[in-house]
Every structure is written in C-alpha cells, then in structure tokens.
C-alpha cells in the first residue's frame, strides 16, 4: 500500500510543494515527524483516497452488502486517520483546528471513490449470483 500511496502523493505534492516526494513519504512512514500544516493534510488527503479505493475493491470482492459496508467504511476510514495522526505522528490536533478537521479532510471525496469501486467490483464480479438470487425471490 505504501508504494501505491507514494505514486499519488508525488503528483499531489509535486505540483504544489517544493519538498521532494521521497522525503514526504519517508516522513509519512516515520513516527512523530515534523510537518508543515498543509503538507500533512495533503498526505492525509491522498492516502485517504487510495485507502478508500482499496477498501472499495475489498468490499466488492468479499462481497460485503448493505448498510454495514457503509458504516464499516466510515468507521475504519475515520478511525485510521485519527489513530495515524494522533497516536503515530503525534500531531497537535489544536494546531489543525481540532481532531474533527483532520478526520473530515478529504472524507467525502474518498467516500465517493469508495462507493464507485465498491459498486463496480460488486456488480462486475457477482452479477450472475445477484441476478440468480433476484429471480428466485
């Protein structure tokens, strides 16, 4: 997952930030790194997008169904971001305007990405089973 994240972060930060991507990646994977505010939020944003897509693929392959899938995604996504920022990087949440700002960074976009991949993989892989189940009921 780390490699996937890095390819996307390169584009993200390359265009806006001057810090090289390899540096940002190594800091992202090291506990208690020094961060510029925007830089850290960018790392959270892009990791979250990749994370959402990966979860969508997994949910689609299993396949997870119903409300549970949505709740699990929201819980895992917010939980992981919170734990990563507060427990792993030990950032001062007050500097970012509270933990809420960190947790909601890029949430809607990653949620949409997650839904798209979940729906596509669920439909693509299990179409026949779904249709068979529908005709019997």
């Amino acid at each position: 997952m780390a490699t996937k994240t890095s390819t996307i972060e390169r584009n993200a930060n390359g265009s806006v930030k001057s810090a090289p991507l390899s540096d940002i990646c190594s800091r992202a994977l090291t506990a208690k790194s020094e961060w510029d505010k925007d830089e850290f939020l960018d790392v959270i944003y892009w990791s979250r997008q990749v994370f959402g897509i990966i979860l969508g693929i997994i949910w689609g392959i299993i396949p997870l169904k119903g409300f549970l899938g949505l709740v699990l995604f929201a819980g895992i996504s917010c939980g992981v971001v919170y734990l990563y920022a507060i427990n792993f990087q030990m950032v001062d949440e007050e500097a970012y305007g509270g933990a809420w700002e960190l947790v909601k960074e890029g949430f809607m976009t990653s949620f949409a990405g997650f839904l798209v991949t979940w729906i596509i993989f669920y439909t693509g892989l299990h179409y026949d089973t779904i249709m068979a189940a529908k005709t019997t009921t």
Binding site: D38, L41, A112, I119, G124
Partner: protein, 183 residues
C-alpha cells in the same frame, strides 16, 4: 456488466478534464484570476496568522486591523467568484447538453447493482428512469454523479486548481459569525 460501469468512469474522467480545460481557457489562465487568487491566498494566510497571534487580544487597534483585512478579503473573494461565474455558465450549458445526451443513451438501462439499498431521498436519483421497484438497481446518473464527485475534485487538486485550505477556510467564514464578531 463491466463494460457499462467502466464506460461511465471513463465518461466522467473525460467530462472532468473537459470541464477543467474549459475553466482553464476561460478563467485560470487569465491574468486577472491569477492576480486575485494570489492576493486572496496571501491575505487569508496573513489573516489566519494574525488571528492566531491576537486571538484573545482585546486591543482595539488590532481588532480594527483584523476587521479591515476581513473586509478586504471579502471583496477580493467576491471578485474572484464573479470571474469564475463566467466559466460556470459555460460549463453549465455544456454539461447539461452532454448529460442529456448520455441520459438518452442510458435511458432505462440498469448499469450496475448496488450492494446496499439507498435511503429514500437518494432513491429518486439511483432509480431514475428505471422500471420496477428493485432499489438495488442503479441508474446511469447515480454512478456518474459519484464518479464525478471523486474524480473531478481529485483532478482539480492534482492540477493545483483547487482553492487553498487557508482561502477556503477564511472564505467559508464569511458566511459564518466571523465578520461581525468584533463589532
């Protein structure tokens, strides 16, 4: 079933690029926009910093300064949205035309199966133009909107067209209690 869904993702990637391209031609590359954008960003950052430093200060002159900065930022933000408005109309027209074309292509077609039953106020969208009352059937428009939501914003961010965090935070505050809080 892969073909329809992949096609929709592809369509939304294309329209996102088209939209950004159109906005670039009409807005992003113009000198006026660039000047206003740097101005707004500079002011937002300055204001944020000033507020952090003097957050609880009761000094009247500081308050006055912050107030004046806020007013300036507000005016610049308004000018910025006016500049953007022009392209919003253009892309709006283009997109309505494109969307109605795609809508007629996918009319009445179930493009995907939803792994969940959407809540009632989304069902109107996810089941648009579809026959039957099986709400796990997904219409073109629902999938397209979801794709656009994630793809367009990510493309904007990748290309650096999205407004900076400081600017959107200060900009959002304009409609909140912030401007009047020192009065």
């Amino acid at each position: 079933m892969w073909s329809d869904t992949i096609l929709i993702v592809f369509i939304s990637i294309c329209t996102a690029f088209l939209g950004e391209g159109l906005t670039w031609v009409l807005v992003y590359r113009t000198e006026k926009y660039q000047k206003l954008k740097t101005e707004v960003e500079k002011q937002s950052k300055k204001l944020e910093r000033r507020k952090e430093i003097h957050g609880d200060s009761l000094d009247k002159s500081v308050k006055k300064k912050i107030e004046r900065d806020e007013e300036k930022l507000k005016n610049n933000n308004r000018d910025l949205s006016l500049v953007k408005m022009k392209s919003m109309f253009a892309t709006g027209f283009a997109f309505t035309a494109l969307l109605s074309m795609f809508n007629s292509i996918f009319d009445g077609r179930v493009v995907a199966q939803l792994p969940f039953t959407p809540i009632s106020w989304i069902q109107g969208l996810s089941h648009r133009n579809l026959a039957g009352d099986d709400f796990t059937d997904c219409s073109f428009i629902f999938l397209y909107i979801l794709c656009t939501m994630s793809i367009r914003q990510n493309i904007q961010k990748l290309l650096g067209f999205a407004p900076s965090r400081a600017a959107s935070k200060q900009g959002g505050g304009l409609f909140g209690p912030t401007p009047g809080q020192f009065k």
